[in-house]
Amino acid sequence: MAVNRVAVEKIPHPIGDSVQRIDAREKVTGAAIYADDFQFGPGLLYARILRSPIPHGIIKRVDVSRARALPGVKAIVTGEDFPGYIGLYLQDRFIFCRDRVRYVGDPIAGVAAISEEIAEKAISLIDYELEPLPGVFEPDFGASPDAPLIHPDLGKYEVMNFIFPEPGTNISNHFRIRKGDVDTAWKDCAAVVEREFRIPHIQHVPIETHVAVAKADEKGKVTLWGSSQSPFAQRNLIAKALGISQSDVDVIAPYVGGGFGCKAGVSMEALAVAIATKVKGRPVKLRLTREEEFYTAFVRQGLVARFKMGCDKDGKLLVMENKFYWSGGAYTEYGVNITRASGYSSTGPYNVPNVKTDSFCVYTNHPVGGPMRGFGMPEMHSGLEQCIDELAEKVSVDPVEFRKMNCIKTGDTIVTGMTMHPTGLSECITKAAEAIDWGKKNPASAPNKRRGKGIAIMWKAPAMPPNAGSSAWVEMNEDGTLTVAVGGQELGQGTFTVMAQMAAAAMGVPYDWVRIATPVNTDYSPYEWQTVASRLTWSMGNAVVNAALDARHQVLEMVAKSWNENLEDLDIIEGQVISYKSEESISLKNIVVYGIAKPNDQGWIGGPIVGRGNFMPSYVTGLDPETGQGPRAVVHYTTGAQAVEVEVDMDTGKVEIIQGVAAFDVGKAINPEMVKAQMEGGFVQGVSTALFEEMKLKQGILTNPSFVDYRIATSSDAPKKIDAIIVEYPQDDGPWGARGIGEHALVPTIPAIANAIYDAIGLRPGNPPYLSEKIYLLMQEAGLVS
């Protein structure tokens, strides 16, 4: 249904207002329900998973007979019971392993029992035999002809048409960019930088671990309660894997205690559902321990990146040649798209005429790589932005000036041949540099310390299929309030709040007249592709606005008829329908459910108002498989810059973050304080990944699977000050011009810190994490310290 787009120029309240979070009170009183808080009563069964202790092997034998005989055990399942493949972009996974185990933690069997103790005992009674196979632990080795094959059947897997696996290898996706003439461009370069980076796997570390409770009824309908970013994607993928209809899977998803991507797609939820199908009528709960969270759900892929870039004597970028070997882990059903997304954005936010990129997704016998905040961009920018700094230095151009000169600008042709939409990246760079007082070196706080400043810039587009859609409806209640139903999830980013703001603005009611229908329930809620990609404010926002405008239109039509006036003369302000012409007014209360009576008891006009809306981009095109070129690779890019001041302790190598600055072009900040909160939180998470985080995998085994030795930033590690700067260059098809910020806030932090360390001690730290040991030994090798 075509409805009028609300003009960007006319910004109604509460758009742009930093209203209080709609879920704040629940969360501060402990009333907010998360997946582990649902009460299921005494019928609840507890699931445990038998997981592979080795990274690669053939399953010779699994014998569950002793476990099945244990009193209190209600179901045991293995891969034998579930032949269907599962996967988002590439179906390369079974719910339980059938022939092979491919990573430490790969599920071999599942048990449901009346208590956790019995389930644990049952697991220990399962006899199994694995024949170890040699493992692949580095992606560049995995891509070579010498590497053992982890997925010999790669050629048979179903795959979406924009993913290009190479059967007979470990390469599950190969994305290419061939733009301009790279080979001849090198001779025009006055300076060239060539570097390799090895970015480790890290994990999302949501404070709430994964939880799923599944129940299958007699008819075969499945209900799944879970901590989930993607109720509809889970419904879809699980239905397909089980060979049942989507409408026979009901996913109920309450507040999520942190996602960052790990609760997108399907990971452990399929295990709970599979076990539940064998215990008709009883709910089965599977809750990951913190240890399991570190290595058995999703992790961030590792990356071996080889950059080669060149510029002319003035610092103008001429050419980039990139090779990315993504360590996708044991299954790359989701990770293949990270390979693609990093490929089509592989220049970083720069205008480069000649580009050659080969981005490979490589199977390794590591935990499963999946989406993590930034979807390949943090990993890629970690190395790219350090190379840019080095290149700028070679031609004696200031790092900020170099970036201002080369950064992508409105109207530029980007790496895929797409034309860049209006973007405020230049302004982000200028403002970030200004806020950190670029060029001024502050005195160190002690004689044994060194100060430095660094900057890094970024871009990212929502990485998703070209037809990822959103929908919403707006119901009106007798008291005039709105109930907005969506399929997207509140992860803490504030989506419910901004949806309420947008519905209130589009309808003409106060913000606190709006409720969001929670929890999301795929039986009743409108479809949403996934809560990922920083897409909700823009995509789901459009759907909500359309739905609210649809409802508004129905109300105005009803009143226009009743008053015998023209639609154009009517408006809704603060919950009152008013006429500019006759100066009549009527409250929304009651009429939005009961309608309006005709005069003299001659009948009724109107009826219960339900507005509906959807949004799906229509304009994303495919890309040539050989060159990666196409008219419109992505919907849009959010761009931004971060600058950081660090202090390095020469006695220990410890890096302290003195202050941080973040400037991002969000199009339109629907709720400015929440946008800033994303920038701050993303920055500190970025600091954490820069200074501490690394999955220490040795021959496929995670040696730091707990908080004791997987350190994240604490309150003592946050800097004194973070300046969050909002830049607004409206997005043409965003609600009031808005586009996303959720992921972008994390993307440039590692290289900003790396570049600041270089400014402080004259040494480039290279691969993160920049632990005090790494920095100290770097200084020792260079003779800076003894």
Binding site: R48, T714, S716
Partner: protein, 301 residues
């Protein structure tokens, strides 16, 4: 060795004896399968990880003397084994006379964990990384132990026999630690290097105590204890000796720091490499010595 995906507390019996005699007897009768429980901050972690599998946890927090913290100028400070670290940190006598103990305790974990963690527990757990052990060693602490044959005192020297191992016997319950009054004008410093700014286990920990001592040529005695660089909390005897030999100046402090480095035998582990730890022993010992020297260096001509 692979990962345990499901660490959890095993089945055990919680036992709550009412007297020290009953407790020691129970522990001796169930040698090898019973353990005294105080704050639990090490026990629960070790049991969850499957390292310890005791059938009985014997709660000693209510037994005689374990909850008291008392000071007198003759005997010094007595900290009962059940006194949590937060209580120790804010005790006025600790603050006045043993600030080094408070400084070290403050670096342990988090405020919540310090509501449960105890100094004696830190000592009995005998991890070379124990933050408060160094302070107790340099302050000449001795443990009051109740065993099947009654009470005895156990000095800390020789108490640690290996990582996680002590000279305690089945039936032994440490009821507290006594720290004699520190020497006149003593100053101390604990420097801990972790990964985060605060919290975390130590990659390296350096405890230094210094005080005027006319029995030594230099006029000063220094005590140096190192954490996380040897199988047990390490006393750096060579460094201590060097600092007694002659006039003290920055070069001598540097020499002592290098001697400490040479005595340390760290390993590579998930927290840090041996090479880094050696350098950190040197740098942080120098720093701690210097900070203590700044406080006491003017006292003797």
């Amino acid at each position: 060795m692979s990962i345990n995906p499901h660490p959890e507390l095993p089945v055990f019996e919680y036992v709550h004896p009412v007297s020290l005699e009953e407790a020691s007897q129970f522990l001796a009768n169930h040698a090898g399968e019973a353990r005294p429980l105080c704050g639990g901050t090490d026990i629960f972690v070790r049991m969850r990880d499957g390292h310890w599998n005791d059938k009985y946890l014997v709660d000693i927090k209510a037994l005689d003397g374990t909850q008291e913290i008392k000071f007198d100028p003759q005997n010094g400070l007595f900290i009962g084994s059940a006194v949590n670290m937060n209580r120790v940190i804010r005790d006025p006598n600790v603050i006045s006379h043993y600030p080094l103990v408070a400084e070290a305790a403050r670096t342990v974990a988090s405020y919540q964990l310090r509501t449960r963690a105890t100094i004696v527990g830190n000592i009995c757990n005998a991890s070379p990384a124990g933050d408060t052990i160094g302070a107790c060693i340099v302050l000449n602490g001795r443990l009051k132990v109740h065993g099947t044959d009654g009470f005895r005192w156990v000095p800390l020297a020789g108490f640690f026999t290996g990582p996680g191992k002590t000279s305690l016997k089945p039936g032994d319950i440490v009821t507290g630690i006594e720290l004699p009054l520190p020497p006149k004008s003593a100053a101390g410093k604990y420097i801990k290097l972790g990964r985060n700014q605060l919290s975390d286990l130590s990659i390296v920990g350096v405890t230094v105590l210094g005080y005027p001592d006319e029995s030594l040529v230099s006029g000063y005695r220094f005590k140096i204890a190192l954490a996380s660089v040897a199988p047990v909390p390490l006393v750096s005897l060579k460094a201590e000796t060097r600092l007694g030999e002659g006039p003290i100046n920055p070069a001598v402090l540097e020499e002592a720091a290098q001697l400490a480095e040479s005595e340390a035998t760290p390993i590579d582990d998930v927290r840090g490499s041996a090479r880094y730890r050696k350098s950190m022993v040197r740098n942080l010992t120098y720093k701690a010595l210097w900070m203590v020297w700044e406080k006491i260096g003017h006292l003797v001509n």
